[in-house]
């Protein structure tokens, strides 16, 4: 790190105006609280089998391919991206509904990626999930009491006589009538059903809740109620959230930190103010430009909409180099040759792009070339040495690379 110069954050004005909000979002790092969940290079490849009697594996769907992030204790990380980008798979890997192909899932410092079902059993109490569809996530043949009480019976945590009082208490917590424990799910509305699902997830007092699109199946008016309920619960019970959604507005409301996924990889991860106001990755920018903006509409005129060409490539055979290059307006030669690392470019901001920059201010030369030891076309540069620190880490480091300054450096 000899050639790195000490630079100040070029967006100092920006960070000053947001410093108060930063403080809230930095709960995890700044507050001295550790990350409850640390995911490192998580991979999930689903085999694609040929038809016929002998079903050979002919390929793999690379649903999640090397994802790293942290969920701070008591915090919330949002995971956004379009359909099929691997965000739900990530959630199901963390809850260990799937066995990951590779990588680490450190929960409270313990790797749970390879644990057997038996050894996972005690951890099931700590990691629970809220499901997307309230119409299929509740067994139609069980009463609400049986559904919410099932975790207690499976884990044998309370004597059987105490189950019903606990169930009623939980129903009250999520805002349902505790007398309705003997009703069936079909007697409830979508929002009420989702509350039952939340009550079930809360039954064992989890430390981490994976919310897999918890509100996307609900009416907009109900969405707000459920999101607010989740926020109240987070505060009351000190639960950490991994909040998976495709609704950027909901994520913005709920999550101090947001990660954007594209085709099985995280392309940008930042605290919400930075991500929503100063996105650096062209995909994030395109995604955000698709969100209708009421304020813009009020003053007349619409924000420039970035239209992406083409479809998402197949995850069975993803593009070489940067996965977004086939649809990226900035793509150059280097993008096909070299995969951009998820580089930390701000205090709590990482982006995976050779040409990271704000809209209209993208650099013309790849900012990552020297770090990776390659020239501007992506060919190996014998004169340069790759920076060993340019490897993806789950959390945020104290030093980061200043891209806007035009040179790479680190701030101590």
């Amino acid at each position: 790190m000899t050639d790195q110069t000490v630079t100040s954050d070029s967006g100092s004005a920006k960070s000053a105006e947001q410093s108060s909000e930063f403080a809230a979002s930095r709960l995890a790092g700044g507050d001295g609280r550790d990350a409850i969940l640390e995911v490192e290079n998580l991979r999930m490849y689903f085999p694609v089998k040929s038809s016929g009697v002998i079903r050979r594996t002919v390929g793999h769907v690379q649903a999640v391919d090397g994802v790293s992030f942290q969920v701070p204790a008591g915090g919330a990380l949002g995971l956004v991206g379009e359909s099929g980008c691997g965000k739900s798979t990530t959630g199901r890997l963390i809850t260990r509904l799937y066995q990951p192909t590779g990588g680490k899932i450190m929960f409270e410092g313990k790797d749970i990626a390879g644990l057997s079902p038996k050894k996972l059993m005690p951890l099931r109490r700590d990691i629970q999930m809220i499901f997307q569809d309230p119409y299929t996530s509740l067994n139609p043949r069980h009463t609400v009491g049986a559904i919410v009480g099932a975790p207690l019976l499976i884990h044998n945590v309370v004597p059987k006589k105490k189950v019903l009082p606990r169930v009623q208490e939980l129903l009250e917590v999520v805002g349902l009538n505790p007398e309705h424990y003997n009703r069936y799910p079909n007697e409830f509305s979508g929002g009420q059903r989702q509350r039952i699902g939340i009550a079930r997830a809360l039954t064992l007092q989890p430390k981490l809740l994976v919310a897999d699109e918890p509100v996307s199946a609900l009416d907009v008016s109900i969405q707000a109620q459920v999101v607010n309920l989740l926020q109240d619960l987070q505060r009351e019970f000190d639960i950490s959230f991994l909040f998976i959604a495709h609704d950027l507005a909901v994520v913005r409301h709920f999550c101090p930190e947001v990660a954007v996924m594209y085709l099985g990889k995280i392309v940008e991860i930042a605290d919400r103010e930075t991500l929503y106001n100063h996105p650096q990755h062209p995909y994030t920018q395109a995604l955000l430009s698709a969100v209708p903006d009421v304020k813009q509409a009020a003053i007349g005129g619409r924000r420039e909409r970035i239209r992406l060409e083409g479809d998402v490539p197949s995850p069975i055979n993803p593009p070489s180099g940067c996965r977004f290059r086939t649809r990226c307006p900035l793509a150059q030669e280097i993008c096909a040759k070299q995969e951009p690392p998820l580089l930390q470019i701000g205090e709590r901001h990482k982006v995976a792009c050779h040409f990271a920059g704000e809209i209209g201010q993208h650099p013309t030369k790849p900012v990552t070339a020297r770090l990776l030891g390659i020239d501007d076309q992506g060919n190996p540069d014998p004169g340069a040495t790759p920076d060993p620190n340019a490897v993806e880490q789950p959390g945020f480091a104290d030093t980061w690379y200043d891209v806007q300054g035009g040179h790479l450096g680190a701030k101590a």
Binding site: D133, T136, S137, P140, G149, A150, N177, N182
Partner: protein, 338 residues
């Protein structure tokens, strides 16, 4: 392995305490899917009639042994005096010897009371059909759930086992094995010889060759149920396989199972009759609908009443069970229309 949920389920019957109790106003009480289906079923007059007939048969089957014990029914006593020896043992009097003592006449050749034999025969026939249905459905349901839920290699193995069972020449096999198997049961397994061993053989054979159909239906249902999120939710809680199979999935299967049950029963009642004709199963003098019918075939012209009554009873019960099954299917799955 499973912690019973009955603790909670038992409260289902408890009256909901918070309902606004305006007398005179119809309470909008919550209804389970079962209650909704029952309400639909009750509206279907034909199915209700079929249900009543089936209920009548079941009631007859239940009281017949008591009536036999108390002497009201007497299926075994021979009444040689009521037979016309000159006519080759045909009952005296018209219509097979119908009289105040013998409402449906007496059996040609032996003079046993036909009504008593038919009533007691219903008991045996329903008992055999019901037991065989339970055996078939038990095997079929468990294997179907495992096959559908596990998928992969297990699924293939069970699938091939189904193919194998279906392609087996079962009728030939059960005829050929009849003597050996009954001897094995009475000898090695210490099963009481006679009616019990014969009935058990029929039950096991029918049950064993009857499971593939139900296994396929269950597997198909499980394939769709296992993709629903409540199964994931249970797995997430660390539910055991037993709990997943029998607490989460099985309750969602009971509609097709019930329908299949009502379609399997008549098939087995007919099968028992057919096997009786082939001299397999419970043998006279113990009556079953099947062996009474077999006996009566020789008298189809000479004593029409004796020939007609067992055939008629079998027809009625088979048709009723089938109609009941159709009605249940319509009631349980409101999306299908006739």
């Amino acid at each position: 392995m499973t912690v019973p949920v009955t603790e909670l389920e038992s409260h289902v019957t408890a009256p909901p305490g918070e309902e606004p109790d305006d007398s005179g106003v119809q309470k909008v009480a919550g209804r389970s899917p079962t209650q909704l289906a029952l309400a639909r079923f009750r509206k279907d007059k034909l199915s209700m009639a079929a249900f009543c007939v089936v209920a009548l048969y079941v009631a007859t089957a239940l009281v017949a042994p008591i009536l036999v014990k108390t002497g009201v029914l007497d299926p075994l006593t021979l009444h040689q005096d009521l037979l016309d020896v000159n006519m080759g043992g045909i009952p005296k009097g018209s219509f097979g010897g119908i009289s105040a003592d013998h409402w449906l006449g007496v059996e040609p050749g032996t003079g046993r009371d036909v009504l008593s034999r038919l009533v007691y025969g219903i008991t045996w026939s329903l008992f055999i059909a019901l037991s065989a249905t339970f055996v078939a459905m038990g095997i079929g349901t468990v294997l179907g759930i495992i096959s559908g839920f596990s998928g992969g290699f297990t699924d293939s193995v069970i699938g091939r086992a189904i193919d194998l069972t279906l392609s087996f020449p079962s009728t030939m096999m059960l005829l050929a094995l009849s003597g050996v198997a009954v001897a094995f049961m009475t000898g090695t397994l210490q099963v009481p010889a006679g009616d019990v061993a014969n009935a058990l053989y029929v039950i096991l054979v029918l049950g064993f060759f009857g499971w593939p159909g139900i296994a396929r239906i269950v597997r198909g249902q499980v394939l769709s149920i296992r993709e629903r999120e409540f199964v994931d939710a249970a797995r997430l809680l660390g539910a055991s396989r037993g709990r997943l199979y029998f607490k989460e999935i099985l309750p969602n299967l009971w509609a097709p199972l019930l329908v299949y049950f009502t379609l399997m029963m008549p098939a087995f009642i007919s099968a028992e009759a057919a096997l009786s004709y082939l001299q397999v199963g419970v043998k006279p003098p113990t009556p079953t609908l099947g062996n009474i019918l077999t006996d009566s075939i020789n008298y189809s012209v000479a004593d029409f009443v004796f020939f007609f009554t067992p055939a008629f009873l079998i027809m009625i019960i088979v048709v009723s069970f089938n109609l009941l099954g159709d009605g249940l299917r319509d009631a349980l799955d409101p999306k299908t229309h006739r």
